[in-house]
């Protein structure tokens, strides 16, 4: 499967995750979120940016607990809970947000 972004063809796997993580840019994220009929707001970008930073350091997406804690510290306790994250990413902060952020899908019993 592939997506079109600004006239460029970008490969994704059958679940919609980028095949080549280096292909990511903000426009790619917008196209991927568009597939889920979701418009990315400032709140979404805050999460996506954190995910990408964490991935750069650890080569894996953060645990949901790590994510909520970091978001809570950065953006205030009212945002530091999984309910807030699920409101932003209804299909789950781990999987859906990772896909928009251009990261691989977390696998296993998660």
């Amino acid at each position: 499967m592939a997506i079109e972004v600004n006239g460029k063809t970008i490969d994704t796997d059958e679940e919609g995750y980028l095949t080549n993580l280096a292909d990511w840019n903000e426009d790619v994220a917008k196209v991927l979120s568009g597939q889920d009929e979701l418009e990315l707001t400032e709140n979404h970008w805050e999460v996506i940016t954190f995910l990408r930073e964490y991935y750069d350091e650890y080569q894996i997406a953060p645990a949901v607990r790590v994510l909520t804690k970091a978001i809570g510290k950065k953006l205030g306790p009212e945002k530091g809970n999984s309910k807030y994250l699920y409101e932003l990413f209804p299909y789950g902060p781990a999987k859906q947000a990772c896909r928009f952020a251009g990261l691989p899908k977390p696998t296993g019993c998660v």
Binding site: E14, E15, E57, R65, Y86, K95, R99, P106, C109, V110
Partner: protein
Amino acid sequence: MAAKANFETPAFRPYPVIPILKPGAMKGNGPFVAKPPMQEALGFPGELIDNWHDVAIEKMGELLKKYRSLRVYLDACVKCGACTDKCHYMIGTFDPKNMPVARQDLLRQVYRRYFTLAGKWFPKLVGAKDLTREVLDDWYNYFHQCSQCRRCSVFCPYGIDTADISMAAREILDSVGKGQKYCNEIIAKVYKIGNNLGLPEPALRDTLEGLEEDIKDETGVDVRLPVDEEGAEVLVITPSADFFAEPHIDGLIGYAKVFHQAGISWTLSSSASEAANFSMFIGSYENMRRVALRIREAAINLKVKRIIFGECGHAWRVAYSFLNTLVGPFDFLDQRYPIPQHICEFTYDLIQKGALKLDKSANDHRRVTFHDSCNVARASRMGDMPGGQFIIPREVIKASCNHFYDMPADTIHDQTYCCGGGGGLLTDDLMELRVKGALPRMEALKHVVDNYGVTHMAAICAICKTQFAKVLPYYGFEMDQIISVHQLVSDAIVLSVDEI
């Protein structure tokens, strides 16, 4: 993409009668097929080989020789029909090929054609069939609609182990290059990184340090979650979902608090940072052994005296039933304790000895029921009493909270219904199957919610927890109504500060 449902969630049935069948309701291409690198990492051909027919028959012959049980299961069925309505996937999908007997027959028909005299000579008379591409595709589709939960086997008068048949079918499929992406990608990750999740050691350490901080903030007590500590008394092997997902992580915190309170040193291992052994789901003995070997090596390297498994259903089956023959003997461990031991057994023993102080009222905002996970319920035991695998987790729950109610008798203990996501089916591309297969468990849950005001269902399996978190909302429940058993312990346990 995957965010929207394009199927209907089955309605709760006023009476749990056998549904009106819809032939072909779940016909399809099955889950995503594994890519060549995933296949090759496990020693299987990268993609469907040209001579798949001959290789499949040869593999079937090999399995029949290796496992006499398989031949007995394929021969013994008399089509009595006792299993037909016992499968959660049949109940939820109405597809007659999901009747356990019909699903088994997909393999049995080919067995008869190539390995029995009657089938060789009079195939039509005995329901024998050539292995065609269509049959192979049916195998792939329908043997990935069996969670190997073995509920049907409980009702089979001959004791035919349906899971063994599904495992054999998947092993044949792997041997011809048609493996399932979800399972095989994960097993390859275990080899490469050490766990299903692909969680590297620095990330594991960072996560655990974060949890230590959280516990400190919440309780004021320094509770440790150590990694690779040589000379610790106990090695804890737990599913990597315990490091990552909700509500799993609260269970992990619970284990840590129990060890802290018991004053028993313990450690996790960065190389064996996974309890799960998905090789069982694909019936591959070689891969199962290779995955299990990591645990033995970690125990030796870390010089521990005991091995304890965290809350993971099929891992406990592999641990309890197979570990010793797979990678034993464990003569280097302390023989006075069960080898291996389940975290619930460990906590239960401490409760019996009065070594833990549990304040049940801390869970007074919860009314709890317990979901028996299939591999624990029907393929293992706990403690030294018959039915210990049913009694011990419930006793741990009852010691931690005041309000416990069991679901109806035909949905618990050895008759428990699968969560709908076991056996290597916990993947997004099977969401329709997972939601539909959860129906009987959701009906049982609704019963105790309506009659006893149950607010939470506790479980001791990472797959069950993730599956329920995902499917509960489809049935009008909240995703956080599923919790870890050790989350209840965690909330009730009264911690004492270390004496210096």
